[in-house]
C-alpha cells in the first residue's frame, strides 16, 4: 500500500533497475560501486551521498568485566551483526546499484532517564542527517522514547533487543518493527516443546528484577495456552550465585528450596543471567531446567548450522573473531530487512519501504529454513525459534503438529485476535 506518487520521486533510479532486471545486456554489474550516477538520490537528505542508504545503529556497549569472565558480553555485540549485514547488502547492491552504510552511535554506559535522553538525542541527530532506517539495541523505554521522538519523520525503527510484550501490545508504534522475538514467543516455543515431551508440571522460579517478573508472566500465559500446570512458583532470593566464584561455599538454602515440590521441570526466569545457571544439577530431585537458562528458546546459537546457518557462522567468525550471538543475528536480520526490501522493491526509497515491511509479499530469508515476515498487526518478525541447550540443538519451534490457519509460525506469540496493539496514526 505504498503511495504511487512517492515512487515518481525517483524515476531515474527505477529506470536504472528496470534496465538491469529486464535483461538489456549491461556490463554494469561488474563495475565498482563508485561509478554511481547522482540520479538515485532524490529521497536522501543533503548530508548523505546520493545513492547511499545509510542505516543508523544505536547501542550501549557493555562495560568490559573487571576480571576474568568466560562469558563476558563482547563490546561489539549486536553491532558486529549489523556490520556483516551491511556487507551483505552491499554485495547484493553491486548488482542492483544500491549501496549501504552503517552509522554507529555507541552510547555511554548507564540507561535510565539520562540514558533515554542520550538515546533520543542520538536518534534525532541521525534522523537530522537524513537517516531513515534506525536499528536500536536498547531497553523498552528507550525504544519508545526514540520512536516517539522520530514520529512523523519517515524513520523506520528496528527493535533488536527489547523482548517486552507491551511494545507489541498497548505500547506498539507504527514506526517500530521488532526483530527480537517477544517474550510470549520465547515462552510459547518452550511450552510447545514441553507439550510435545508431555512434561506438564512446572516449577517456576522467578528472579528479583522487573524483566524476570515479565518473563514469568509470559511463561504463565504460555502455560495456559498449551495446558501446562504451574505446580509451584517461588522467588529466587539467594542472589547472583551463578556469578559467584566456584570456591564460594554452596548456599544450602538455595539447594533445599526445591524440596517438596511435585514437578517435571524447573523453569527459571533470570534474564540477566545472574543465577539461572546455578540451578541445574542442584535441585533436590533430579529435574531438567529450562527458561532463560538451561534449555532456552532463542534466535541464534553456535550449535545452529542447518539452513545455511553454517555459512553465516563462518562469515561472522571470520569478520569478528568470535562466535555470533543472538543480538548479532537480530542486528543482521534488521539491516538485511532493509536490503532485502530494497532488492524486492527495486528502490531504497523509505516512503516505499516503510509500509512494505509489513506486507505479506515482503520476506526475509534468514537461515531458518522458511522466509520471515513481519506481522501486520504488531510489526513483530515471525520466525521459528531454536530450542537449544548449551551444547546441542534440541528442537525447533513451532513444533510439528501445532497448526494455524495462516502459518504455523503464528502459533508463537500474540495472535491477531488477541492483540492489544492499535497503531495510532
Amino acid at each position: 500500500m505504498h503511495n504511487p506518487a512517492r515512487i515518481l520521486l525517483a524515476p531515474l533510479a527505477l529506470g536504472l533497475f528496470g534496465l538491469g532486471f529486464t535483461g538489456v545486456p549491461a556490463a554494469w554489474a561488474q563495475e565498482p560501486v563508485a561509478k554511481e550516477t547522482a540520479a538515485q538520490g532524490s529521497v536522501a537528505a543533503p548530508a548523505i551521498v546520493p545513492s547511499e542508504t545509510a542505516i543508523g545503529f544505536i547501542y550501549r556497549p557493555e562495560v568490559a568485566p573487571s576480571s576474568y569472565d568466560a562469558e563476558a558480553v563482547p563490546e561489539d555485540e549486536g553491532v558486529a551483526g549489523a556490520r556483516m549485514a551491511v556487507k551483505d547488502n552491499n554485495n547484493t547492491g553491486r548488482f542492483t546499484k544500491q549501496t549501504y552504510r552503517l552509522d554507529e552511535v555507541a552510547l555511554e554506559p548507564g540507561s535510565g532517564r539520562d540514558g533515554g535522553q542520550k538515546a533520543v538525542a542520538a536518534a534525532r541527530d541521525l534522523a537530522g542527517r537524513g537517516i531513515r532506517y534506525l536499528v536500536v539495541a536498547l531497553p523498552a523505554d528507550e525504544v519508545l522514547a526514540v520512536a516517539d521522538a522520530l514520529k512523523g519523520q519517515g524513520v523506520t525503527v528496528f527493535n533488536i533487543a527489547a523482548p517486552d510484550d507491551r511494545l507489541r501490545g498497548a505500547d506498539c508504534r507504527r514506526n517500530v518493527f521488532h526483530v527480537i522475538p517477544s517474550r510470549a514467543m520465547q515462552t510459547d516455543a518452550l511450552a510447545q516443546f514441553f507439550t510435545l515431551m508431555r512434561w506438564r508440571k512446572m516449577f517456576l522460579i522467578v528472579g528479583p528484577q522487573e524483566n524476570d517478573r515479565l518473563y514469568a508472566e509470559a511463561f504463565k500465559n504460555s502455560a495456559r495456552k498449551f495446558a501446562l500446570k504451574i505446580n509451584a512458583e517461588k522467588p529466587w532470593t539467594f542472589g547472583p550465585l551463578a556469578k559467584a566464584r566456584g570456591d564460594t561455599p554452596t548456599r544450602s538454602e538455595a539447594m533445599v528450596f526445591t524440596r517438596g515440590v511435585d514437578y517435571d521441570l524447573a523453569v527459571v526466569a533470570d534474564e540477566a543471567g545472574d543465577w539461572g545457571d546455578y540451578v541445574p544439577f542442584r535441585t533436590v530431585d533430579p529435574r531438567p531446567v529450562a527458561g532463560t537458562q538451561g534449555l532456552i528458546a532463542t534466535t541464534w546459537h553456535p550449535m545452529l548450522e542447518t539452513w545455511g546457518a553454517a555459512q553465516a557462522q563462518n562469515r561472522f567468525r571470520r569478520q569478528s573473531g568470535r562466535l555470533m550471538r543472538p543480538l548479532d543475528y537480530q542486528a543482521w536480520a534488521a539491516v538485511r530487512s532493509v536490503g532485502e526490501a530494497a532488492t524486492q522493491k527495486k528502490t531504497a526509497d523509505p516512503a516505499v519501504l516503510a509500509p512494505y515491511f509489513a506486507e505479506p509479499t515482503f520476506s526475509l530469508p534468514a537461515y531458518k529454513g522458511v522466509s520471515l515476515t513481519y506481522r501486520p498487526w504488531d510489526h513483530q518478525l515471525r520466525q521459528p525459534l531454536i530450542v537449544v541447550q548449551p551444547k546441542a540443538l534440541v528442537s525447533v519451534a513451532p513444533e510439528q503438529g501445532f497448526t494455524h490457519q495462516r502459518t504455523p509460525l503464528d502459533t508463537l506469540g500474540i495472535d491477531l485476535p488477541e492483540t492489544t496493539c492499535k497503531f495510532a496514526d
Partner: protein, 338 residues
Amino acid sequence: MSRGFRAGAPGTVLGLALLAGPSLAGLSLAGVSPAQAYTVYVTNEKGNSVSVIDTETMAVTGTWKVGRRPRGVTTSKDGKELFVCASDDDRIDVLDTSTGKVVRSLRSGPDPEQFILGPQGNLLYVANEDDSQVTVIDVEKNKVLAEVPVGVEPEGMGLSPDGKILVNTSETTNMAHFIDTTTFAVIDNVLVDARPRFAEFTADGKYLWVSAEVGGTISVIDVAARRVIKKITFKIPSVNDEAIQPVGIRITKDGTKAFVALGPANRIAVIDAKTYAVEKYLPVGQRVWQLAFTPDQKLLFSTNGSSNDISVVDVAAEKVVKSIPVGLLPWGVAVSPN
C-alpha cells in the same frame, strides 16, 4: 519392487524396464541392454567420504576418503577422474576412479560448494560459497583463470549447452548471475525467489530453471530475454508449505520431464517440462537435495541428507525402486559417463 533389484546380478536394469511397460522395454533392449552398468558417486558431507555404488548390483562397492565437508561432485568427461569439492579444506580433490585415491587437489579458492565442468572438460567453474565469487580453474594446469565477483553465498552452477553462458545463483542475494564464459564478466542478473540453490539449463539452451529453497518455487527463465516466464509452485497434501524446499533439478534430454528435489518435504516432484504442470510427487528419503541421472536417463538418484541414504527412481515408470544406505549426510551425487 526393490527385491527384484537386489536379486538380479546382470539383467536387473532390463528386468526393471520390463516391469515399467513396453515402451521402455523396447528402448532398453535397443540401447542399453543388460550389461550397461554405471558407477554412482555420493559425497557424504559429514562423513568426509564418497560412497561408490554400482548400478548393476545397486550396492555400495566402496567408500573413499576425501577432504573435509565434501559437497559438489562431478566426473571428468572420460570418467577416469572424480572431482570433489572439499569445502572445509578450500580445495577440490581429484580422485582416480580406478583406485579411489586422491591423486591431486585443485586450487579452488575458499569454500568451494558446487561446480560445473565446461564442455571441453578442461575448465571447472566453482562457486565459492563463503567468498561471494565464482572461480574458473584450468583443470590440467591447476591454474585459476578468473575470479568473478557474484552475490552473497554463491551456490548453484549451470552452464548453457554450448558452454557460452555460465549461471551462478547466490543464496542470500537471491539472484541468478549470468556470466559470459569468454570474458568472465557478469552480463546480467535475474532476481528469483529466496535462497536459490540450483540452476539447470534445458537441453536446447532456451530455458533455465532455478530452484528457490526458502521461496518454495522454481523460476523458469527465458535465457535470451533473461526474464522469469514461469514460477512453478508446489502443494502436497499433509505437508506444510514451509517444508517444501526445492533444491536439485534435473530435466530429461528430450525436454519432456523435470524432476525437482523438495528437501524436507521428502519428495521428488515430477513436472511436465513443457506445460510446467506438477504431475506427481515421489516419496523418497529425508531431506532430499541433489539429483543425478544415469547417462541413459533411465535411472535418477537422489541424496537424502537426514536419512543417510540415496533413493533410486525409475525415470520412465516414475517410481522409486530402491533406497541404498550411504555415509553421513549425503549431499551431492554424480554418475559416471560410462
